[in-house]
Amino acid sequence: MIYRGGIGQWAYVLHRLTGVGILLFLLMHIVDTFIVRIHPETYTRLIRDVYAAPWFKPFEVALAAAVLYHALNGIRIVLIDFFDMPSVYHKRLFGAVLFLFVLLFLPGAYFLLRPLFS
């Protein structure tokens, strides 16, 4: 049975998952920009068939979501680390993280996905 921790546990799990996701993207990104030096044609094809392809859009949106969550929750952790506060406040801070996430993510996703529908 999985341990039933509170909000903090799930905020942490999400932070780890998005962190690993962003790291994987960065590795991929290093590899593809490396290809531009050794084989420019392959690079052009890669950009056209993968990064600019419509099927890749959802991954782009997922990356944006991961970076946004990781950044906002990172600020939450910094606040917890540097300001003395009763621990229950971390839940309110998490509420603020979710609020800001939705506020920033919805327009972001809209702009990322708009080219698909026009």
Binding site: Y3, G5, G8, I80, P86, S87
Partner: protein, 232 residues
């Protein structure tokens, strides 16, 4: 009311692997999980093994995983848990038998932070005097009963058994912030090491698990900040 108990059992002398066993118990809603365990042990299966001593939430012997969360069996009321209760031993410790775990490593870490008053100044004529404000500074962490509910709820500890863990940090905090104590440096050296406070990832499971309502993460953060500002 009828309650269904599902208990994680383990007896290395009988079977190499742990297994689940179910019991039906008749209890009052106001009874505690400990009462249910007693009923099972006294009337159904005398081999069921668990620790308990005071039965009143003060000795810290009976922390266990109850319905997926660390609690004291003597403080968890049946009415708060419903008619299906799942009981497992604490996580991250070696299980000796059924709900009894090996806490030697846990107490070794407790001893490592020197949980006693250390003084170097000449002894005062009567007693070490402390103002009410100075006493209040560490009041929260004096309440710890060393039940290990916090440490065994911590993902950092599950991943790395060498992590000193929230309970030992709480104990260190109790003395570091005591105005009469002069041993802070020795304790901070332990807490500043590889497996010290910096392994805390502010998950807050310890705060939710603590049966004494200690704000464990806040205490850990206070130690972290002390280490940081002391260096500056």
């Amino acid at each position: 009311m009828k309650v269904h108990f599902r208990i994680r059992r383990y007896d290395p002398e009988k079977a190499p692997k742990p297994y689940w066993q179910d019991f039906e118990v008749e209890v009052e809603p106001t009874d505690r999980v400990l009462d249910g365990l007693h009923y099972i042990k006294w009337y159904q299966d005398g081999t069921l093994t668990f620790r308990r001593s005071c039965g009143h939430g003060i000795c810290g012997s009976d922390a266990m995983v109850i319905n997926g969360r660390n609690r004291l069996a003597c403080k968890a009321l049946v009415k708060e848990l419903g008619s299906r209760i799942v009981v497992e031993p604490l996580r991250g410790f070696r299980v000796i038998k059924d709900l009894v775990v090996d806490m030697e490593g846990f107490f070794a870490k407790y001893r490592a932070v020197k949980p006693y008053l250390i003084t170097r100044s000449p002894e005062p004529e009567k007693e070490w005097i402390q103002s009410p404000e100075d006493r209040a500074r560490f009041d929260d962490t004096t309440k710890c009963i060393l039940c290990a509910a916090c440490t065994t709820a911590c993902p950092s500890f599950w991943a790395n058994r060498d992590f000193i863990g929230p309970a030992a940090i709480v104990q260190a905090h109790r003395f570091i912030f005591d105005s009469r104590d002069e041993g802070a440096e020795e304790r901070l050296a332990v807490l500043h090491s590889r497996d010290g406070v910096w392994r805390c990832r502010t998950v807050f499971n310890c705060v939710e698990a603590c049966p004494r309502g200690i704000d464990v993460t806040r205490a850990i953060e206070e130690v972290k900040r002390l280490l940081l500002t002391r260096k500056l």
